[in-house]
């Protein structure tokens, strides 16, 4: 409770107030627009930190319910649709991640042009959807917020993007909406099988999981529906093709938010809906999706090696890293799942950092082709150093977030003793090496090579808002790397075997 309202509601109320505030701003008054964006996103960060502390305090005080801060308001009575909210450790972590990235994204789009007001309106609408998704535990509202988060991407990329923006925007929107078509069918199917015959049907995730009444045959049908539905957003092979084009064309802040947060919606949804509600089917069908995600992991990494556009490299790298998230979730054991959540956090922050830096470099050199750039370490040392740090996090240097996450995932995956899982774990492990190849290649060429263009010598280093945005993200990346226990404890509570039925199935 905060000022008489459930604290989780503020994560929707604040963005909505920001939208109203932006609506009242004058059209081209950057000062007003920035004020609204910065004040709002700072409030969100503060609130999510407060939520984190309060959540940990509640847990420390011995609160053992699965979801805390639960509340429910009746919406569509006859269909039993409620506005039900509640969070566990994973959601808290995701909310924190989103708040940080929205915050950093606001700073990264400090000088957005043209139509700054519209840009922030759509960006904040997108984040409303994201926050709403993470706080919901009702399938209907969850799905609604999910789609709210998807549609602004079209205009954000189409209007403010670069390159083949119209094509990319349309491709991204249609593919993601295509995923949500499967998802919608899956969710309605879950609703109609949510409880044993004769009881009131429900959309509430916690209730459905408790009852565990979805018949086995229906699980086998609905699990792939929902998993593919969310998997499209999680860039699962072969549904990943929107990601490189979309990320490459999007403006900086949108790439950050999309790769950093929106792709996590996919992973989170796969975990929260597909796995959590249909554990039997997950256990039986995991192998199909393990193959697909295994391909994403390796294929994404290899594709990144041959790209020359900085954003494409990073987008394919995201395919690989997000593939690893789904891969770990499908391993169905506590260690790997903890790793998956850590990887979501780590990848979210790291990719956001990457895209922010690429945006800043592009803003100066007006090219993203690594063949046309070189020696940036001399020209813009701050950005170059940040880039190296992001790269190191990506290839898993101990002390930064990537190492912790990937290590946990692979240790967890290797706990399976059968051939199939082990082979795939080893294959997925190879991606670390490939990641090192493309990261080091870019770092060597871009930052340390000879200067390719005389004009680049005149370029300046980062401005204060750019530094601020980058440093915020680096601090978070390092924090996960240095204090992994804090985060894994936060998450681990969710995997309490008492309620996580998936774990009951795995020895």
């Amino acid at each position: 409770m905060l000022f008489g309202l459930n604290i989780l509601l503020y994560f929707v109320i604040i963005p909505v107030l920001m939208l109203l505030g932006l609506f009242l701003c004058q059209k081209d008054n950057m000062k007003q627009i920035r004020t609204v964006a910065v004040v709002g996103s700072t409030l969100l960060v503060a609130l999510s930190v407060y939520l984190l502390v309060d959540y940990l305090a509640l847990r420390a005080a011995g609160e053992t319910a699965q979801m805390l801060y639960t509340d429910s308001w009746c919406w569509f009575e006859n269909l039993n649709i409620n506005l039900a909210v509640g969070v566990d450790g994973i959601s808290v972590a995701m909310i924190l991640l989103s708040a940080i990235i929205v915050f950093a994204g606001s700073f990264a789009s400090w000088k957005i042009n043209p139509l700054p007001k519209d840009f922030f309106l759509w960006l904040i609408l997108l984040s409303t959807g994201v926050f709403g998704f993470f706080i919901s535990i009702d399938l209907f509202t969850m799905f609604m917020f999910y789609e709210v988060a998807l549609i602004p991407m079209y205009l954000l990329i189409g209007l403010w993007g670069t390159g083949r923006k119209e094509y990319s925007a349309m491709k991204l929107t249609l593919m993601l909406m295509g995923g949500s078509a499967f998802l919608m069918l899956g969710l309605i199917g879950i609703y109609f099988h949510s409880v044993p015959e004769g009881q009131q049907l429900t959309w509430n995730i916690v209730e459905i999981a408790e009852k565990g009444a979805i018949p086995h045959d229906w699980q086998l049908f609905l699990f792939p529906m929902t998993f593919v539905g969310f998997g499209v957003l999680g860039a699962m092979f072969p549904f990943h093709t929107w990601s490189p084009d979309g990320h490459a064309s999007a403006p900086t802040a949108v790439s950050m938010l999309h790769a950093g947060v929106l792709m996590k919606l996919g992973g989170y949804g796969c975990f929260r809906v597909s796995m959590y509600l249909m554990p039997e089917a997950a256990n039986e069908l995991a192998w199909i999706f393990l193959i697909l995600t295994g391909i994403s992991v390796v294929y994404g990494a290899f594709s990144a090696c041959v790209q020359t556009d900085l954003k494409y490299i990073n987008a394919y790298s995201s395919v690989s890293h997000c593939g690893l998230v789904l891969f770990a979730i499908l391993m169905l054991n506590t260690t790997a799942m903890t790793g998956a959540i850590m990887q979501m956090l780590s990848h979210g922050l790291m990719t956001a950092l990457f895209f922010a830096l690429i945006g800043m470099i592009y803003g100066r050199t007006h090219t993203r082709d690594i063949r046309e750039m070189g020696g940036l370490m001399k020209i813009m040392p701050f950005l170059a150093v940040c880039y190296v740090i992001a790269g190191m996090a990506s290839l898993g240097l101990p002390g930064l977030s990537g190492f912790v996450a990937e290590m946990t995932i692979f240790v967890g995956s290797f706990q399976h003793t059968d051939m199939f899982h082990r082979v795939f774990t080893i294959v997925a492990c190879c991606s670390i090496v490939i990641t090192a190849v493309y990261i080091l290649r870019v770092v060597g060429k871009l930052l340390f090579g000879p200067v390719q263009d005389e004009h680049h010598l005149k370029l300046t280093d980062a401005t204060w808002w750019e530094r601020f945005s980058a440093i915020t993200l680096i601090v978070c990346v390092a924090a996960i790397g240095c204090f992994p226990n804090f985060f894994s404890d936060l998450i681990k509570f969710t995997f309490d075997p008492e309620f996580f039925t998936v774990l009951g199935l795995i020895k």
């Binding site: 649709i81 789609e147 205009l155 189409g158 209007l159 078509a181 309605i188």
Partner: protein
């Protein structure tokens, strides 16, 4: 004769009063006071719409038969009439400027008279429980529309459209009557309940033929594929006010009448005779409508095909034959009225001021007319089913209503419909793209739309935003069906 049974027809009588008022006003009032006709009619109709909500029939048990069961009214029938009234009211506001324009002033009275007569026909279609009355309603709702389509006397397309419309309307009536004569031959009655009782016993090829003809007849009105061929040309040729009336009111009424007939008359043989026909029609309608909409550049043709596919979605509400399906269908019609009228409102405003109707002309509209383009965008998003706009909720509920039936075939059908929403999203986004993303060329200069047009658009926008989020609309529609899960008992 017991004259008190006329009291069951309160809404029809109210409509008739307005019609007579308009008729006499138009015929006998001096020329200088004629200018107020549009305003007066709209206002009167507004009052009438309001009256519908306080009609005693809404407050529960008043399902009334009249004329030996030929006519029936109940809370749910009153509700659908109210929904249509809201739509007509918005259309009337939208068309005020057009009706008062120089070209139309001479036949302004006729426009309102014809419109009210068609609405009267639709009322009869909905309330009829005897095929004789239904056919009267059907004809009253179709024939005057042809005159309305031909209203733009100076445009050739308008005449062409009228010819096409009247030919298809008459043809479809003939097909429908053919089906009816089969039904009569089979059962010896034209009362809905009497037919229903008889056909359950004797099924055969004759019945299948009869049902096919009846479905085809109403399919023309609803422009279900393969009976949709007239739609695009007529929508394009007719004056925009008439097009919007055709696309929402006429379609909504036909959809509901279809539901009533199929549920009441042929409901007992649903799974044996026409379930698969309905599946095929829905899949064809949604898919073909969508595929043809992709290529259209003229906004009115574009919305014509979009409305063809929307009719397919509306039909999804019939599938499950449950109360949830019916209320979802009514809710879908209501939301569709608001979304489509918002789109037509923008098209009309632009057409009235600049004469442009091509999607290419809409490029850069956001730069010059941000409000119009926002309205258009909301309409497109709502039609495509994007939250938090009403279209999302109506789509979600109609799918939920269909899946309630539970068989795996329904899941496949809904999946096809869902994949089609992605196709539809593509072409709805094309409009958004033209308005928002192509900002280099602005063909349409900034203009100030008429007050009446703005009022109508505000109503539509408010509806698009509020109808979904404010849950009481859908809840109250569901409450109407309270207690009955069997569809045949509903009406």
């Amino acid at each position: 004769m017991d004259y008190s049974q006329f009291l069951a027809m309160k809404q029809e009588i109210g409509l008739l009063v307005i019609f007579l008022f308009v008729f006499f006003y138009d015929a006998f009032m001096p020329k200088k006071s004629q200018g107020a006709l549009a305003g007066i009619t709209t206002m009167l109709f507004g009052v009438f719409t309001l009256y519908g909500f306080f009609c005693p029939c809404l407050n529960g048990a008043c399902a009334t038969d009249a004329f030996a069961g030929m006519y029936n009214t109940s809370a749910i029938v009153v509700a659908i009439k109210n929904i249509l009234n809201i739509g007509v009211f918005i259309v009337l506001i939208q068309s005020m400027k057009w009706a008062n324009s120089e070209d139309q002033v001479i036949r302004r009275g006729e426009f309102y008279e014809l419109l009210l007569v068609t609405l009267f026909g639709m009322y009869l279609m909905i309330s009829a429980r005897h095929f004789l009355l239904f056919v009267i309603g059907l004809e009253a709702a179709s024939l005057p529309l042809a005159a309305m389509v031909a209203f733009d006397k100076k445009r050739v397309e308008s005449h062409e459209a009228a010819i096409k419309y009247i030919l298809t309307a008459v043809f479809s009536s003939a097909v429908f009557l053919m089906g009816l004569s089969f039904v009569y031959a089979l059962t010896g009655s034209l009362y809905f309940d009497a037919i229903a009782a008889k056909i359950a016993a004797e099924q055969g090829v004759m019945l299948i033929v009869a049902v096919t003809f009846v479905i085809a007849g109403i399919g023309f009105k609803l422009s279900l594929v393969p009976f949709h061929l007239w739609t695009a040309d007529v929508y394009q040729g007719a004056p925009t006010s008439v097009t919007s009336y055709l696309s929402v009111i006429s379609k909504g009424a036909a959809a509901f009448a279809f539901l009533v007939i199929m549920a009441q008359v042929f409901g007992t043989v649903y799974s044996q005779v026409w379930e698969w026909m309905l599946y095929a029609l829905i899949i064809l309608t949604i898919t073909i409508g969508n595929l043809f909409a992709i290529r259209q550049r003229n906004m009115k043709r574009f919305l014509a095909f979009s409305s063809v596919s929307q009719a397919g979605y509306i039909m999804l509400g019939v599938i499950a034959m449950t109360a949830t399906g019916v209320s979802s269908l009514m809710y879908y019609i209501l939301v569709y009225i608001f979304s489509n009228l918002a789109a037509f409102g923008v098209i009309q405003a632009i057409e009235n001021n600049t004469g442009m109707v091509s999607m290419d002309d809409y490029k850069g509209l956001y730069k010059t007319n941000p409000r119009l383009s926002f309205t258009m965008m909301l309409a497109m998003f709502s039609l495509a089913g994007i939250p938090p706009f009403a279209g999302f909720f109506s789509k979600f509920f109609i799918f939920t209503g269909a899946i309630e039936q539970g068989s795996i075939a329904i899941y496949v059908l809904v999946l096809i419909a869902l994949i089609n929403t992605i196709i539809s999203l593509y072409y709805y986004l094309l409009v958004v793209k033209a308005m928002f993303i192509h900002q280099d060329e602005c063909k349409i200069a900034n203009f100030k739309s008429a007050c009446s047009e703005r009022v109508a658009m505000w109503i539509c926008v408010a509806g698009i935003i509020a109808l979904g989020i404010v849950s009481c609309v859908y809840n109250s529609l569901l409450d109407l069906t309270d207690g009955t899960s069997l569809l045949a008992n509903l009406f």
